[in-house]
C-alpha cells in the first residue's frame, strides 16, 4: 500500500511541472511584455518613471534574461516566497488577492457539494427503484434539462424574477451595510440570507449528473442475484435496497468526491461573476479583462495543482476499497 502511495506521488511531480509550464506560457501569451505594458500604464496615469526605475522593474521581472530563466525565477518565487507576481488591476500581490477570496470559494463549493449529494442520491435511488414509472420519466427529463441549462442562465432568470416580482436585488454575499464591517453575528445571519442561492445554483448541474450516475449504477445492481437472495431472506423492500445495492452504487460517487471540488471551481466561475460574489472567480475575470495575466497564471496553477493532488487522494481511496488496484492488478482510475 505504502509503495503504491509513493509511486502515485512520484507520478504527480511531472504533472505539476507541466501544469506550471502551461500556466507560465499563458502569462507570456499577450503580445508585448509585461513591464513595457506596466510602464505605459504608469505613464498614462501621469506617474513619471525614470530610466533607472524602468530598468529596476525590468530586472525584477527578469526581462533581460532568456525565457527559461524567467520561468525559473517565477516558479522559485512561488515555491519559496509564495509570490505569484503582482496584479496591477487590484494593486496587490496576486497571492494575496486569491487567498483573500479562496475561503469563500471553498466554503460555497463545499456547501453546494453537500447539497448535491443530499438531494441527488435519494432521488437517483428513487428513480432507479421506480424505473419506467411516470416519476422516473419526469426525473430523467429534468436531469437532461438540468445538464443543458448552465447555472448562470438560471441565475439570470432568478435575479430577474426576484427583482420584478419581489423588488429584491439578488446577488452578492452581503447586504451593503455589512459589506465592509468586521465579522459579527448579524453579518453571519446576513451571509446565510444570501448564500443559499449560489449554493443551490452551483449544485444544479452536479445534482443532474449525480442523479443520472446514481440511477444507472442502481439499475445495474438491482438486476443482480444477491438482491433476489436478500428478498428471499424476507427482508423488507426498504432494507433490501438500502443495505446492499445502494452501498455498491454509491461507490463511483465517493471516488468522484475528490474530483468534485476542482469541478466546482471551474463550473461555478461564470455563476460567481453573474451573482457578483466576493470569490476568486470574479477576481480572475476582472484581471483578465485588463489582460492582467499573472492572476490567470496563478489561478490556473493553483486549481490545476489542487486537482492533481486531489486525484491522488481519490486514487488512494479507490486503492483502499479495491485490493486489485492496491496490488497493481489494474490501472488506477
Amino acid at each position: 500500500m505504502l509503495s503504491y502511495i509513493i509511486q502515485r506521488i512520484i507520478r504527480v511531480i511531472p504533472q505539476l511541472l507541466l501544469i506550471s509550464i502551461l500556466a507560465f506560457i499563458i502569462i507570456q501569451l499577450p503580445p508585448g511584455d509585461i513591464v513595457t505594458l506596466q510602464l505605459q500604464r504608469l505613464q498614462a496615469s501621469g506617474v513619471a518613471v525614470s530610466e533607472a526605475q524602468a530598468n529596476a522593474l525590468m530586472r525584477q521581472y527578469g526581462m533581460d534574461k532568456p525565457m527559461y530563466q524567467r520561468y525559473l525565477l517565477w516558479i522559485s518565487n512561488i515555491i519559496t516566497k509564495f509570490d505569484f507576481g503582482y496584479s496591477y488591476t487590484f494593486e496587490k500581490p496576486v497571492g494575496q488577492v486569491i487567498m483573500e477570496r479562496m475561503g469563500y470559494t471553498f466554503a460555497i463549493a463545499l456547501a453546494s457539494a453537500i447539497f448535491t449529494w443530499v438531494v441527488a442520491i435519494p432521488i437517483g435511488i428513487f428513480a432507479a427503484v421506480k424505473q419506467y414509472s411516470l416519476a422516473d420519466y419526469v426525473i430523467t427529463f429534468l436531469t437532461f434539462v438540468g445538464l443543458a441549462v448552465p447555472a448562470f442562465f438560471l441565475a439570470m432568470i432568478i435575479m430577474y424574477l426576484a427583482l420584478t416580482k419581489f423588488g429584491i436585488r439578488a446577488g452578492g454575499l452581503f447586504s451593503p451595510e455589512y459589506m465592509i464591517q468586521p465579522w459579527s453575528w448579524g453579518k453571519f445571519v446576513d451571509l446565510l440570507k444570501h448564500v443559499w442561492l449560489p449554493i443551490i445554483l452551483l449544485g444544479t448541474g452536479g445534482v443532474a449528473g449525480t442523479i443520472r450516475t446514481m440511477r444507472a449504477m442502481m439499475l445495474d445492481e438491482l438486476r443482480k442475484p444477491y438482491v433476489t437472495v436478500a428478498r428471499a431472506k424476507g427482508l423488507s423492500e426498504f432494507q433490501v435496497i438500502m443495505r446492499y445495492p445502494v452501498r455498491l452504487a454509491i461507490n463511483p460517487i465517493i471516488s468522484g468526491l475528490m474530483w468534485l471540488l476542482p469541478w466546482l471551481f471551474s463550473g461555478g466561475i461564470i455563476l460567481e461573476i453573474v451573482l457578483n460574489l466576493p470569490t476568486a472567480g470574479p477576481a480572475l475575470y476582472a484581471a483578465l479583462r485588463q489582460q492582467d495575466m499573472y492572476m490567470a497564471g496563478a489561478y490556473i496553477l493553483i486549481t490545476g495543482a489542487l486537482t492533481a493532488i486531489s486525484a491522488i487522494f481519490s486514487d488512494i481511496m479507490l486503492a483502499v476499497s479495491d485490493p486489485r488496484i492496491r496490488f497493481g492488478g489494474v490501472e488506477g482510475a
Binding site: S266, L284, A296
Partner: protein, 387 residues
C-alpha cells in the same frame, strides 16, 4: 371450420414464418451502418432531436432569407420595443389572416421611458415572401425578399416577433444570424478536435511505448486543468485588434484544445483492443500493409465511437462560446452570436425592463438539449451488436 379457412390459416402462418426468417436473415446480412441506423430509429427522442437540429441549422444557413430584418439595422424609433402582439381578430370581431396593429408612442410621465400603444385603426397583414431590408445572400446574390414579414415598405410598422434590443435591433433576426456563429463554433471545434484526437490517439495507440507514455501524461495534465478558467485566460490573451474572423477561429481553436483529449483516449483504447482481434490478424496474414490495416479494417471498426465522442463534446463547446462571449472575452460586437447578444443582459436592470433580451437563453438551452438527446441516441446505436 371449413377446409378453406384452415388452408388460409396455414398459408398465413407459413408466410409469417418466412417473413420472420427473412427478417432474421436481413439482420445477419445487414452492414454495420444499416444496423446502427435501425437501432437509432428506435430512439424516438434522438430522432426528434435530429429534426430540431436540422431546422436550427437550416435557419442558420439561410439566415438572410429567413430573418425578417437586417440584424445590424437599428430601428431608432423602436428602441427596446417589446415583442409585437400578433392578432387574427380585429376590434370589430372580424377575422383576418395574422396581422399586427400600428403603434403610437408616448412617454411615461414619471420615468420618461417610451411607452408604446397599439393603434387599432391601422392593420398591417403579415405575409410570406415580402420585400424588406436588402441583403446579399452569402455575399453572392442581392435580394430583398424575406420569408415572412410585414409588407408596405418603409412606412409600415416593422414586425418584431421577439422585440428589439436596447439599441433597436430585431432580436429574432439576431438570433437567426447568431446561430451561424454559435452553431458553427461547435462544428469547427470538433473538426479540429477530430484531427488532433485521431492523430495523437492513433500514434499513442499504435506505437505504444515511450510515445504513448508521453501523450498519455499530456492528456492527463490537460484534463486536470480547470476548463473554464483556462478558456477564459486563453481568450483574454487574444490581441484585441485582431479582425473578427481571426478571433472566431482562434476561439474555436481554444474550445477544441480540451475537446480532443477524450477522443484521443477512446481512439487509443479501441486501437489497443482491436490490434488483438482475429480479423486484424487475418488481414496481416493476408499481407496487408500496416497503413492499410488501420485505414481499411480498424478505423471503420471504431468510426461509430468517434462520432459518439464528437457529438458528446459539441454541447460543451456551444456553451463555452456562449459563456465566453457573454463575458465579453470571446467574440464581441459587431459579430453576432447568442453569447454576444446576452452581453446586454449582464446588467440586471436591462433584463428587468426588457426581459425579451433573454430570448437567446432558451435557444441555447434548446440546442444543447437536442445535442444531448442526439448524443444519447447515437451512443446506444454505436454498438449495434449489443441488443
Amino acid at each position: 371450420m371449413s377446409k378453406k379457412t384452415a388452408q388460409k390459416k396455414q398459408l398465413g402462418r407459413q408466410k409469417r414464418r418466412q417473413a420472420q426468417a427473412g427478417q432474421e436473415e436481413e439482420f445477419y446480412r445487414a452492414g454495420q451502418w444499416q444496423l446502427v441506423w435501425w437501432k437509432f430509429k428506435r430512439h424516438k427522442l434522438a430522432q426528434m432531436a435530429m429534426v430540431v437540429l436540422a431546422i436550427l441549422y437550416f435557419i442558420a444557413i439561410f439566415a438572410e432569407f429567413v430573418s425578417p430584418h437586417d440584424p445590424l439595422r437599428r430601428f431608432k424609433q423602436y428602441l427596446a420595443y417589446p415583442p409585437t402582439a400578433i392578432h387574427i381578430r380585429d376590434t370589430q370581431g372580424g377575422f383576418h389572416t395574422p396581422f399586427i396593429y400600428g403603434v403610437k408612442m408616448g412617454r411615461d410621465p414619471v420615468t420618461f421611458r417610451p411607452v408604446y400603444q397599439e393603434d387599432t385603426s391601422i392593420i398591417y397583414p403579415i405575409g410570406f415572401f415580402v420585400h424588406g431590408d436588402p441583403y446579399k445572400f452569402w455575399g453572392l446574390f442581392k435580394s430583398d425578399i424575406h420569408l415572412f414579414g410585414v409588407s408596405g415598405g418603409e412606412d409600415a410598422m416593422p414586425l418584431f416577433i421577439l422585440g428589439t434590443d436596447t439599441i433597436g435591433r430585431d432580436v429574432l433576426s439576431r438570433i437567426f444570424y447568431g446561430g451561424r456563429i454559435s452553431l458553427s463554433v461547435g462544428l469547427v471545434g470538433i473538426a479540429i478536435s477530430f484531427v488532433l484526437g485521431l492523430i495523437l490517439g492513433g500514434i499513442s495507440g499504435f506505437f505504444g511505448g515511450v510515445v504513448d507514455e508521453i501523450i498519455q501524461r499530456i492528456i492527463e495534465v490537460i484534463t486536470t486543468l480547470p476548463t473554464i478558467p483556462l478558456w477564459m485566460a486563453l481568450a483574454a490573451a487574444l490581441p484585441r485588434e485582431w479582425p473578427q474572423l481571426r478571433i472566431y477561429f482562434a476561439t474555436t481553436l481554444i474550445l477544441s484544445i480540451l475537446g480532443w483529449t477524450g477522443l484521443a483516449r477512446s481512439v487509443r483504447g479501441r486501437l489497443l483492443s482491436m490490434r488483438e482481434e482475429d480479423f486484424v490478424l487475418a488481414a496481416r496474414l493476408d499481407g496487408e500493409s500496416e497503413a492499410a490495416i488501420i485505414a481499411r479494417y480498424m478505423i471503420p471498426g471504431f468510426a461509430s465511437y468517434i462520432i459518439v465522442s464528437l457529438t458528446g463534446s459539441l454541447p460543451g463547446m456551444i456553451l463555452g462560446e456562449t459563456s465566453l462571449s457573454f463575458l465579453g472575452i470571446g467574440l464581441n460586437p459587431p459579430t453576432i452570436s447568442w453569447g454576444v447578444m446576452l452581453q446586454d443582459a449582464q446588467d440586471i436592470m436591462n433584463v428587468a425592463h426588457y426581459p425579451w433580451i433573454l430570448w437567446p437563453v432558451p435557444v441555447v438551452v434548446l440546442a444543447v438539449l437536442m445535442f444531448n438527446f442526439l448524443g444519447d441516441g447515437l451512443r446506444d446505436a454505436a454498438d449495434p451488436y449489443v441488443s
